[in-house]
């Protein structure tokens, strides 16, 4: 039992625990916090795998920025687990969903077992030491700005589009404002529509 194994097990258990708690919370704020926990544990595993830059990115961008954005939205919408989400769907559908998910997991494990173990890749991780500079900012950036320059530039465009799209989607129309100030009629048609469809 080396230190590596211990670190891996602790991190893995924390990551799975965080993920499990995340999906089982009623309160979305708690969910987000458990998700951050899971992400931090995963970042530890990244660093263990010599992916220093990406591990740092995961903490800074994911845990730090995106999860905070989630929190911000939850606060903005004023959701504290107060909303009653109503009765759960039927047991049959619940069981179906579990069965489907577990089947998918089983298939993955089967693939890992039958394909990865026994292939040349299987032992590489434990036998080959990492090359110099593996996973450092410098080496990753070298790749990013040479071999993957075009995908990198494309992600820039993607982000720009996402920003513009988010602004356009979330923007309140002037007309809506006027309506809202008079009364909450904006929600009324939706509710009647709900009744009709049910």
């Amino acid at each position: 039992m080396t230190l590596d194994t211990v670190i891996f097990f602790i991190s893995a258990v924390v990551a799975v625990f965080g993920a499990t708690m995340m999906i089982s919370q009623r309160n979305p704020v708690a969910s987000v916090l458990y998700m951050i926990l899971s992400l931090v544990a995963q970042a530890v595993i990244y660093i263990q795998l010599s992916a220093l830059f990406v591990g740092a990115m995961l903490v800074i961008v994911y845990a730090g920025a995106i999860m905070v954005l989630f929190l911000f939205v939850i606060m903005l919408l004023n959701l504290r687990g107060s909303e009653d989400l109503g009765a759960h769907s039927s047991p049959i559908s619940k069981v179906t969903k579990y069965v489907v998910s577990i089947l998918l997991f089983v298939e993955f494990v089967f693939v890992i077992k039958s394909v990865i173990i026994g292939s040349p890749v299987a032992g590489l991780l434990t036998t080959t030491p990492p090359v110099d500079d593996f996973g450092s900012v410098k080496s990753v950036s070298m790749l990013l700005f040479t071999k993957y320059l075009y995908p990198f530039e494309l992600t820039g465009i993607l982000l720009l589009i996402a920003v513009v799209g988010a602004v356009v989607i979330a923007r309140r129309d002037k007309a809506d404002d006027v309506e809202d100030t008079h009364s909450s009629t904006g929600t009324e048609p939706a509710k009647t529509d709900e009744v009709v469809t049910k």
Binding site: T2, F8, A12, A15, V16, A19, T20, M22, I23, R26, S31, M35, S38, L39, I45, L49, A51, M57, L58, Y62, I66, L69, F70, V73, L79, E83, L85, G86, H88, K97, S101, L104, F105, F108, I112, K113, I116, V121, A122, L125, T126, P130, V131, F134, G135, L143, L144, Y148, T155, A162, V163, G165, A166, V167, I169, A170, G186, T187, A190, T197
Partner: protein, 101 residues
Amino acid sequence: MTVPISAYLTLAAVLFGIGTIGVLMSRNIIILFMCIELMLNSANLALIAFSRALNMMDGHVMVFLVLTVAAAEAAVGLAMIITIFRNRETINIDRYSMMKW
């Protein structure tokens, strides 16, 4: 290093499975969204593991790209959630059914 690659891949599969269950079971759209992020991250984990095993950092770049996509997705998705919530006053995904027949 003494931990075999299969262990990392199994951890990724576990996280992916939890994410799947979360997507299928959760009725809160924000949690559902986070589950999708979790599934993306499990894929990232697999990429990192293979990257280390093969001593190629292309996997890191892929993770970087996935992170960007996740960020973009989160931004647009949350904007949509805000807009829908404004209209329907709910985050229950089962009630977002106005597009059905």
